[in-house]
């Protein structure tokens, strides 16, 4: 029957009338033509649809009175629109033909909620231009290009409105425009353009394309661990470079502690800059060797020691950047080896606000701070004294309790699963020293979700999108 529609509708009509002997023959014809037209519109085949539109209009409106339809937009206002233009939108077409709506104000076609009056007027402009059959492709193209020149917000609304009206050619046009906007931009830029919230966790952002075998979190941790190791090595290397005496040795804890104690005999004495420098270097040395030991011991004892030693090293080496950590984390429990940390925290450990970014900047920052501390007047003697006292205290404790603590730790590490006390600074970022510990715990306890690992510790895993480490 469709093919007969292409010939003169009147002959087809009269044929049908004979066939059906029904007064509603016209209506049937109208429906048929309308169906084809709707289908063509939905496909985006406008030329064909236009042909049928012409026939349809003639059939339904033999006197060719200009017909209007009534449309109601999202805000409730109703307007009158020329029928042939409105029919360009498949949804409206559908409503008119199959539901018979739109013929009067009371039966206005309710447009989808996404179509605001402004958007409707834009869409109608588009339809008005394109439904004229005589235009060349070039004309249409140039109209389109001018048409989409609007700000991004309107473009999005227009896409949405066109999509709800099923106006495929306009959806394609606007989508392409938006795609061109997105192309080549970084996620941050895209967020800015579209005012999107940054609501993915860092982990989700870094989550690489899922390989079926790998757990991305483990890979991430490994990567971070490798970074940390690299950084530790870098630090060592840099400190070695600036030191005169090359004491790269593995002194035992006792030796080092006695060294510290011996060094700080008279804190009130005003140190000459030379002396200070020497001290600093020696301290750096200790830190250095601590760190070296740290990386050795790391492998043996699951990193518990590191923290105490490196924490101590921090205390010595970076006196200018002391902060109190939260009281919560300092419960004086004697139940497990985690205690060591608490005590080191007592000693006013430094808040290294190192988040997992591990930039070399941090290392330098500390050094610089130390330099400044030296260059200015002496380190506040009272503070120095306080520190020295605490260090000595800590050292004493360490010395006496060490074997016992080790035993405790080793026996209790199996039992403790949940009460983890990570030394944190006020911002509760993980310190970089904690990494090996966290990793080993993670791996050993078989927790497959690092966030649950950290849950309940008041820790927030803050990871930044992967960027190569800037070695400045």
């Amino acid at each position: 029957m469709v093919s007969t529609m292409m010939e003169n509708p009147r002959t087809a009509w009269s044929r049908d009338v004979d066939l059906l002997r029904c007064n509603d023959a016209t209506e049937i014809l109208i429906m048929k033509v309308g169906d084809v037209m709707v289908r063509n519109l939905a496909r985006g085949a406008h030329k064909e649809a236009n042909k049928h539109l012409a026939q349809w209009t003639v059939l339904g409106n033999p006197k060719m009175i200009k017909a209007y339809v009534w449309l109601q937009t999202s805000d409730g206002s109703i307007q009158q629109v020329e029928q042939e233009i409105a029919m360009f939108c498949p949804l409206i077409c559908h409503e008119i033909i199959q539901k018979g709506m739109g013929s009067s104000k009371n039966y206005a076609i309710c447009l989808p909620q996404r179509v605001s009056p402004a958007m409707l007027s834009l869409i109608l402009d588009y339809c008005r231009f394109h439904q004229v059959p005589g235009r060349s492709n070039k004309e249409r193209k140039s109209f389109d290009e001018k048409f989409i020149r609007m700000d991004t917000k309107r473009l999005c609304e227009l896409t949405s409105a066109a999509d709800s009206l099923q106006l495929k050619p306009l959806v394609d046009l606007t989508s392409r425009a938006l795609a061109r906007i997105i192309e080549g931009k970084t996620p941050e830029e895209i967020r800015e353009i579209f005012h999107l919230p940054d609501d993915l966790t860092e982990e989700e952002k870094l989550e690489p394309l899922k390989n079926t075998t790998d757990d991305p979190r483990i890979r991430l941790l490994n990567r971070l661990y490798a970074k940390k190791r690299k950084e530790l090595k870098e630090r060592e290397r840099l400190k070695n470079v600036e030191v005169e005496e090359e004491h790269v040795d593995e002194r035992s804890v006792d030796d080092l502690l006695s060294f510290i104690n011996g060094n700080d005999r008279d804190p009130k004495e005003i140190k000459t800059s030379k002396n200070r420098k020497k001290n600093r270097r020696k301290k750096d040395q200790q830190k250095n060797s601590f760190l070296k030991e740290a990386s050795e011991l790391d492998k043996e004892t699951n990193g518990h020691n590191i923290r105490c030693q490196s924490a101590e090293a921090d205390t010595i080496g970076e006196t200018s950047n002391i902060r109190h950590t939260e009281d919560d984390t300092f419960s004086h429990k004697e139940t497990n080896g985690h205690n060591i940390r608490c005590q080191s925290a007592d000693a006013d450990t430094i808040g290294e606000t190192s988040n997992i970014r591990y930039t070399e900047d941090d290392t330098f920052a500390h050094k610089v701070e130390f330099d400044d501390g030296d260059m200015d007047d002496e380190i506040d003697p009272a503070l120095q004294e306080k520190i020295d006292r605490e260090v000595a205290d800590f050292a004493r404790r360490l010395n006496s309790d060490w074997p016992m603590r080790m035993k405790e730790f080793l026996s209790s590490s199996g039992q403790e699963r949940t009460s983890m006390h990570f030394p944190t600074n006020g911002n509760s970022f993980l310190r970089r020293h904690d990494y090996p510990f966290l990793l080993s715990r993670f791996l050993s306890s078989g927790v497959d979700d690092i966030s649950s690992c950290c849950a309940g510790t008041g820790l927030r895993m803050e990871m930044t999108p992967y960027k190569p480490i800037q070695m400045t």
């Binding site: 949405s160 997105i182 996620p187 895209i190």
Partner: protein, 272 residues
């Protein structure tokens, strides 16, 4: 105002599908809505070549592979693990940036003059190659290697370049000696490209920029490659756009040896 509240997710998917695979990956870290939109099959179906299902079917006759994986997984799988087809003669994968097909014709699929004759050429198995066997040149005077590929298995509307993949076991035969290379696409009006180059890595810093670019380069998989020429695959209007023929030869009469040939790779080349 948050744009994703205005646009439904499938509109966003449509927009992403009109960008490139690289942009799509980037968009997955924009926001949670974008991430969800990016993972949709609509996006990756567009990036896959139209006949990807055929490729997979050739590889594994069951259709369970295509059913169980999302289009996204299929895309990345094809990028990272090219399929070995055609009795180990051809390797088909996708180029990650554009999603276009990247096809390597292995040594077995090339036409090597004297290639079957044992004292001259050998067929050996090398662990670094993804092909089951590569061709090894022992010694020959007439070096003539031909590769042919049907134009309609490559992606349309793409600028391709052919690369000769090789390794030099001994360098002395090929240093300072030019080989001729030509790439000719049938029905392109006979205007194939023809060039001469030396099959060695351009280590010499004094060489001009242009020359250095077009010299042999080391690939990530340990092989060397040298560009033989470029050609363009247009819209596939007719059934058969013919073949693309590549040829590498050196027939000047001195003895050559010590060359390992893995194959010829056809991959999209960004213009410029």
């Amino acid at each position: 105002m948050d744009m994703t509240k205005v646009l439904p997710t499938d509109c966003i998917s449509k927009i992403i599908s009109l960008t490139s695979p690289r942009d799509a990956c980037r968009s997955s870290s924009v926001s949670s809505v974008f991430k969800k939109a990016e993972e949709s099959d609509d996006v990756w179906e567009r990036f896959l070549p139209p006949d990807y299902q055929n490729i997979i079917l050739q590889y594994s006759s069951s259709s369970s592979l295509t059913d169980s994986l999302t289009k996204r997984q299929i895309f990345f799988h094809l990028c990272d693990h090219p399929f070995l087809l055609d009795n180990g003669q051809m390797r088909v994968g996708l180029e990650k940036e554009s999603g276009k097909k990247c096809i390597t014709v292995g040594a077995k699929g090339l036409g090597i003059i004297w290639g079957d004759t044992l004292p001259y050429w050998d067929s050996i198995s090398v662990p670094q190659s993804r092909f089951p066997s590569v061709a090894r040149l022992n010694h020959v005077w007439w070096l003539d290697i031909n590769g042919r590929i049907s134009a309609n298995i490559l992606s349309q509307r793409t600028n391709y370049a052919a690369f000769f993949i090789f390794k030099l076991e001994t360098e002395h035969c090929f240093t300072h000696r030019y080989v001729e290379m030509s790439v000719n696409k049938e029905e392109s009006g006979g205007n194939g490209s023809h060039r001469r180059a030396i099959l060695e890595a351009s280590r010499n810093g004094k060489k001009k920029e242009r020359e250095r670019e077009r010299g042999a380069r080391e690939r990530e998989d340990g092989w060397m490659e040298i560009e033989m020429g470029e050609f363009f695959i247009g819209e596939n209007g007719d059934d058969d756009e013919g073949f693309v023929d590549c040829r590498l030869w050196e027939t000047n009469g001195y003895i050559k040896g010590g060359l390992l040939v893995e194959g010829i790779e056809f991959r999209p080349k960004s213009s410029g």
